[in-house]
Each structure stands twice: as C-alpha cells, then as structure tokens.
C-alpha cells in the first residue's frame, strides 16, 4: 500500500530580529550561520499557529476537515504543561471530535514523531487521512546562549493514500540515553543546557547518523542519491556536519536550509524545512528527512516526489515577508520583562 503526503501548509510569523541586535545587547550571537530569526506576535502561540497551518494544509489538497481520521500535534513550547493541545487545534480547524489525536511534546524530534504516527495510521487505514500539525517557538532564559538561535514557525501535513504529491519510501528511528543537553526540569518552562559542546556533538551525531544509515541500508541507497536532504537545524551549520557523515552532497542541503533566516524552529524545524524542499522539488526527486531531539533520538524518513505542487504560501515567500523588531521589543514579546 503506497502512502504519502497529499498536501502541506506552512506559517512563518512576520516579525524578525537580526543577529546584530543580539550582538549589541550581549556582545555576541551564538547561533552559527543564523543571520536573523522569526518571532511570534503577542497574540500568537503554538496553538494558533498550528490551527493556521492545519487549515492551510487541508486547503492545499483540498480536503474537508470532516474527512480527517487521525490528528497529531507536535510542539516543545505548549502554553500549558498539562492540558490537551490537539483539542484546541481540532476545534479551530473543524476536525471531528471523534478523531483520535495525540500530542508529541518532549523533544525537538516531536515533529517527525507526529508525522510517523500519521503515516502508520494511513498504512493501517488506507481510506483514512491523517492531519499532522507542528508548531514551535522554543523559550529559554535570555541569559543563556542557547536562547540566541530560538525562532518560531509551523508546518502541517495531510497524509493519506490518494492525491499524493510525495510517496513514503520508508522510515527508521534511533533512540539512546544522552543527557546534559537541552532539557526542561519542570521548575520552569525554559530550556536548560549545560552547554558542553561534546555532549551535543556526540548525541547529535550518534543518533542522526544511526537513524539515517539504517534507513539508507534498508532502502539499499546512498546519501548522494538524494536531491534534497532535510536535517534538524538547531543552527545553520549542523546540517552540513550531518550531511557529510551520511554522504549527502552539499547542494542537496540548500533547498531546506531555513534556519539561516528563521533560526531554530524546534520541533517544527524538519517539518518546515521539508516544506521548503517540497516547494521547489521536481517530480522524481528524492527527499531524506533526518530529525533530532535531545535526550536523545532521531527519525529518518525517505520520500519520493510524485506529483506537481502549486504552493500558495511558499516558505520562501513567507521568509521574505517580514517586519524587524529591536531587542527591547523582543524581550517584551517573549515575556522576559516581568
């Protein structure tokens, strides 16, 4: 049974802050390769952003919300620590109350967790349709360097077995025990990071390369055979390092490198970057997605583009549509001034 993606939608908030504003405030900017990043407005959160992309994805097919048989939501920045997230988005998007839903929240891998949950649903229910909405705007203390790169964005996908624009070729996962890097203790809702570069590099490299190489082996393929390689982007340099390890050609990383202009989109990083690749990919192109979440785990997903797309709100168009804010405005929007 062939399943895949039938539609998608993206939302990039229009507010941006430049790295120069951080440098002026703190003397440095720590997110490698990021020149500016997106910021949510005061009246937005991951639930309003997820609702927006869920509707956009359904309209792109087009598919009525009443046809959705599985809903999955992902974010590491929920406005509530306890309270169902999917209920809000299902209500806003008009998805039937009887649809089974799941919330994926505990690491930046959450976006691909939700996608795989959606794929598994449509593989088991070929007549069904899964709607997967991922939105994130991670928060950390302004005193930490991990905060510098944190941006905001959202992407949603409609998965099924009809009207496919991209077919699922396979997926693999790898999870392992690593710690010290990007965690929340429960005492506050801010990301902590012990900032030991070695922890991060070893956890990131181990999990992403294990997941990706297992998938390549399963499909009997090499990294260089992919026209688009979409990698988790805590900054704009990480995809290059991982790409090299899995044998991707440099040019295959370009179409999805959204972090240079948007920053670290957390759980929405790979879903938004995948949308950027789908915006420009040609029929016949292959796309490899490799996510990463601290703690740590990675998912690898292989897709083949099979249908023409007519994207309405492309990632590139939304990246270009922006209004700059200064650092003081940023602090107000992030609620950092009490």
């Amino acid at each position: 049974m062939t399943v895949g993606i039938s539609g998608y939608g993206v939302y990039i908030p229009r507010l941006r802050i430049k790295k120069e504003d951080y440098a002026a405030a703190w003397g440095s900017f720590s997110a490698a390769g990021v020149s500016e990043k997106s910021v949510m407005g005061l009246d937005e959160d991951v639930l309003t952003a997820a609702t927006k992309v869920a509707k956009r994805a359904l309209e792109s097919v087009p598919l009525g919300p009443e046809k959705v048989t599985r809903f999955a939501m992902a974010s590491t920045s929920a406005p509530y620590v306890e309270k169902l997230l999917s209920g809000t988005v299902m209500c806003g998007a008009g998805v039937p109350n009887g649809t089974f839903s799941s919330d994926h929240t505990t690491s930046t891998r959450a976006g691909t967790e939700a996608l795989i949950a959606g794929f598994e649903h449509v593989m088991a229910n070929p007549a069904g349709h899964a709607l997967v909405a991922v939105a994130d705007a991670p928060r950390a203390s302004m005193w930490t360097t991990v905060e510098h790169g944190l941006g905001a964005g959202a992407a949603a996908y409609v998965l099924g077995s009809d009207n496919l624009i991209a077919e699922l070729e396979g997926y693999t996962s790898y999870a392992s025990e690593h710690f010290g890097e990007r965690f929340k203790t429960g005492e506050d809702d801010l990301i902590h990071d012990l900032n030991v570069k070695k922890f991060f590099e070893s956890a990131l490299m181990t999990n992403t390369t294990k997941a990706a190489s297992a998938l390549l082996k399963k499909l009997g393929r090499k990294g260089e055979e992919y026209q688009h390689v979409v990698v988790q982007q805590p900054d704009a340099k990480v995809p290059g390092s991982i790409g090299k390890k899995i044998g991707a050609v440099d040019t295959s990383l370009a179409s999805s490198l959204v972090s240079a202009n948007l920053g670290d989109l957390g759980a929405a990083s790979t879903p938004t970057a995948l949308a950027a690749a789908l915006d420009v990919a040609k029929v016949g192109d292959r796309i490899l997605v490799v996510s990463y979440g601290s703690g740590a785990g990675s998912d690898a997903i292989s897709l083949k583009v099979v249908g023409e797309r007519r994207p309405v709100n492309t990632v590139a168009a939304q990246v270009a549509k922006k209004d700059y804010i200064n650092y003081v405005q940023y602090l107000k929007l992030k609620g950092a001034i009490k």
């Binding site: 229009r14 407005g41 005061l42 009246d43 937005e44 959160d45 639930l47 309003t48 609702t51 927006k52 406005p79 509530y80 809000t88 209500c91 806003g92 008009g94 209004d323 405005q329 107000k332 929007l333």
Partner: protein, 138 residues
Amino acid sequence: MAHVSIPMYWRTIPQRYKMIGQKCKKCGAVNFPPKGVCKYCNASSEFEEVHLSGKGKVHTFVLIGAGGAPPEFAEQEKAGGSYPVAIVELAEGPKVIGQMSDVNPKEVKMGMPVKTELKKIYTEEGVIRSGFKFVPDQ
C-alpha cells in the same frame, strides 16, 4: 478587568474559533454572533446553524492607543503599541466588531478585505482566551 467567566466564554467557543452563526428560519437573515431572537426580524427564535466564511470588509475602524485600552488589553497595548479595532461587514451580511492583527495599524483602510484567524485574545484566571481576530485577506 471586564470579567468574562469561564463557562460564559466556553459557550462562545463555536463562534470565536469557527465562526458558527445562525440563519433565521423566518426571515433568512444570518445572525452573528448568535442571538436569542433574530435581530433582523425580531420575530423568530428558531435558527439553523451556519458556518460563516470569516471573510469580509472593514466597514470602519479605530486605533486604540495612548493608554486607552480596556484593562484586559492594557498589557498588549503597552508591549505592542496601538492596535486597530474594526467593525467588519462579513460576506454573509452581519457587521461584527473585532481586533485586527498581522497588520501595520497605519495600513488599515475602510473597505479593505479581511478574514478571521484564531489568535490569543487575553489571559484570565490562568486560562488563555483564544478567538478570532481579523487579518488582511490578500
């Protein structure tokens, strides 16, 4: 603060999240937000539920600023500056009041096409009150 209790707010979720209005079974006019008695014919309290498109045009608007915001929006005004509030004529007929978002306040014009989108309105009792605001419809 203009207190809206949680049960009262909860009852308005279909209209605030999904633009659910009502069509009068007697005169056919669309009421939004929903009413007890049709505000157009004043003669019927029987309605059929309708899902409005959320699209419309700015009929008139005002900028709220200089400390003029009601208490629940005071923080929003302090952090984000003055914000537009519009009366929008919806495609289905009713005129509705709502905040405008995702727009430079100076670029709001009468007649400009808008649509509704789910936004955070304010937070009270630790509960985020979400609902529609109007955004430009390009």
